[in-house]
Subunit: 145 residues, 2 copies
């Protein structure tokens, strides 16, 4: 673990809006606390990271690998129409990469999900079910929290 | 040029909403025809591509390289507060990756730019100036159109 990783702390806003479910080799995997959409977030455990292009090349490649594995797993698990990927960070500067499975006719379709509706909380059983479906599609490189 | 590339045609909606400005080793580089924001789009020249995770591993890596070079160049050229990166594709299924330089207080800040305002067209001199500023920051791997 290098210094950047030792100093990593999940931004309090991301912590408030999500459940931490696993750690990949680089990133913390979060489930967004909005049950409207299958919505996961990858947060590289690098203190101070803000932009993908400013990560080391090795970290950029690892983030790509984790993102592609996650995206494929989410689309397999939740049978969506389109995956939406985004690194925005206008409100929360800590680098985080959204992965949202979209369905034709979902609550924000065809617009983006951000800022459209207040989050719809999960009940515990639905959250557990969603996490279990995702876990079944991901490789053993993810350490479940 | 492989078959996928030979069969590539830019989606008519992307063609209508942007100016094609260069070709990288993998992607067509577009300038979005919305002068509100420095906004570029990368479109891998792969017929039928819809999701990043479904590209070949070599193409995924090349897209990452092109995206990181472009993102850094745009933030250098336009001195923004935050880069917004997104692959949405709910309206236009052809895989395309948005790069938008954001400023605190810009027209959509801090929300995402998609679907917020009608596009504000460029006048020709302003478009040329924006392209020249970008070109000055990009490497010779881009063939200018």
């Amino acid at each position: 673990m290098n210094t950047e990783e030792a100093d990593f702390e999940l931004h309090p806003q991301l912590a408030a809006d999500s459940t931490s479910i696993a750690d990949g080799p680089l990133s913390r995997l979060l489930l967004s606390e909005d049950a409207r959409y299958p919505w996961c977030i990858l947060v590289p455990r690098r203190a101070g990271a803000r932009e993908i292009y400013a990560l080391s090349e090795a970290d950029q490649l690892q983030l790509l690998r984790e993102s592609s594995e996650l995206g494929r797993a989410m689309m397999d698990a939740f049978a969506g129409h389109k995956l939406n990927l985004a690194a925005l960070g206008n409100l929360v500067p800590q680098l985080h990469l959204h992965h949202v499975v979209r369905y034709a006719g979902d609550a924000a379709w065809p617009g983006p999900v951000w800022g459209r509706h207040p989050a719809l909380g999960y009940d515990e059983a639905a959250r557990d079910e969603r996490i279990a479906q995702l876990k079944a599609k991901l490789s053993p490189q993810w350490a479940w929290l």
